[in-house]
Amino acid sequence: MRVVIAEDLTLLRDGLTRLLEAFDFEVVDAIDNGPALLPALLRHRPDVAVVDVRLPPTQTDEGLKAAIAARERIPGLPVLVLSQHVEPLYARELLTDQAGGVGYLLKERVSDVEQFVATVQQVAAGGTAFDPEVVAQMLARREPLAGLTAREQEVLRHIAEGRSNAAIAARLFITEKVVSKHINSIFAKLGMPPSDDDNRRVMAVLKYLDA
């Protein structure tokens, strides 16, 4: 699987490269600044990009901007955004194109190597994965949304964190069948038409963020 990495701290950039190569990724490019990122993404069209939000020269949100711009040109280009902190605002911006294949994690999650690699693979496969921290922030701020039950909220949280039905079932000690029942109920309560489109999961999260 071909990866482009964008990270300005040499230590982290090399670490990420080594880590991903150890898990049989092919790191085609490792970028250390903002302006070079977009051309690199467009040129390599990687299977997944791992991008730091904050990059030189401005040290603002250049990485995020480049990732969003790249996804405008190449819809659904899988991007995993890393940051020292998480903002629901950025999560919403990443989700607005509803194309899936986005992730948003705290940098420190890298320390749980296997989980991190699993997340990269999941995003590359078109899934959505958000940091538990950002999900917690989304959940903490408002009253239960659209009359979701506590259990349904929990399921939605796991969806946002990027878990499959099977993984959710295992975590909540329920059967997969019950999970999909909950999910259908969530979609109905959020007013989303039934369809087989996988992106519904993304849209559910997005709806939640917009509430």
Partner: protein, 475 residues
Amino acid sequence: MRRGAPGASGAVTSIGSGVTQPEIPRGDGLYRFRPEKAVTPPGGVVAPPRDDGGMTLRGRLRTGVSAIVDALFAISLALLNAPVLMLWLAGLVLSPVPVLGAELLAVATTVVRWRADLERRLSTRAGLPIRRPYLPAPADAEVGTGRWLRWIITDPATWRDAAWLLPGALVAAALGLIVVAITAYGLVGVLLVPLWLHLGGLWFGYGVFWPTANRAEAWLALPQGLALLLLALILAPLIRRVHVSFARLFLAPTRSAELRLRVAHLTVTRADAIDAQAAELRRIERDLHDGAQARMVAVGMTIGLAERLVRRDPTAALKLLAEARAASTSALVDLRHLVRGIHPPVLAERGLEGAVQALAMHLPVPTAVRSHLPGRLDAPLESAVYFAVAEALANMSRHSGAKSAWVSLSHVEGVLAVEVGDDGNGGADAGRGTGLHSIERRLGAFDGTMAVSSPPGGPTVVTMELPCALSSPKT
């Protein structure tokens, strides 16, 4: 809503400098500084004059009536001037007398300043506010001490007040009498003559115009009286302006007093800023010491232990290493919270607009953000405004019981205006809430002001204004 105009709205508490200028009664809002106007013309007009109803007939009528009433006030107050002056002179002459003298001078000075303040308030009613020129009292000057005496004696405003008392009384009485006399004569013409005729009196001379020969002529007193009343209504505001302008010569701060007040204001806001900064540093130090630093020590110890165990008991070593990793993660959590409190990363990345939007997303109350800022603010200002908005929003979600709220950011003519409003219960009091007070301190360091409009029953609107420039838009 015109801020700072006394009585513009009963629910408006204009602060922003009330605290930093302890001598000025809260809420009169006369003491506002904008750097571009820091040195006002000799007149010292800071707050814009009130327009009592503008150009409408009703407005003019109201202005005229209030000016006539003020003339009556001015005359009665003028009568006080002579006794007040004598009291003050007595205080001055007797001030070398131990104990009693100083007390007498203190009382006399208080009375003089009270009288001068009444005059200033009268000027404010006339739409030409006069600021208090007095030097702030030194911190350790108790009444009666030499230091206190020096404070009173060396303040030129003390002497200017005293110098004003006599001429001020004469001018006020003379001008006031003109207005009152015309009004009174007009009233006599309109009211008394009909009464007199009704009672059967025949002879009545009215006006400077003619003696009355018969009833028909006597009735002419009526239009004459009306004309005089009209004259009084037109003349009274003009005369009031003359009166106020005269008072201004003595009672307004001189140019050097303006600068002195400015220095006093800056001293207070600077001290506030330094205090706040020192408190911040202490908090950061404590957080680091108790949080991340302590955890990193634990991480080091655990890894050291694992090193010793790795050969003998690899399973236990692995467990320790996992523990160390967990501790390093929680150290990072601590650091992240700390960083958010110092300078929120989203503020650095997105500027004020983005950061306020992010803030709104965290709130339990749905909050709309309207914003039009063509560029970015200087970093220190940005941070101050961000934390001020955060404080206002936190206050709102804690106390207001609002269903929805809004924030608007705009930059017009070199002034950043921020409004935070909600549809809650109202009744927010800038004088009591420590939250609102801390906003004021944050903004004060940048010559910013804050006003709270929060009538009982809501809605509440917190308005903040800061003079500042925007940098060119981000590329």
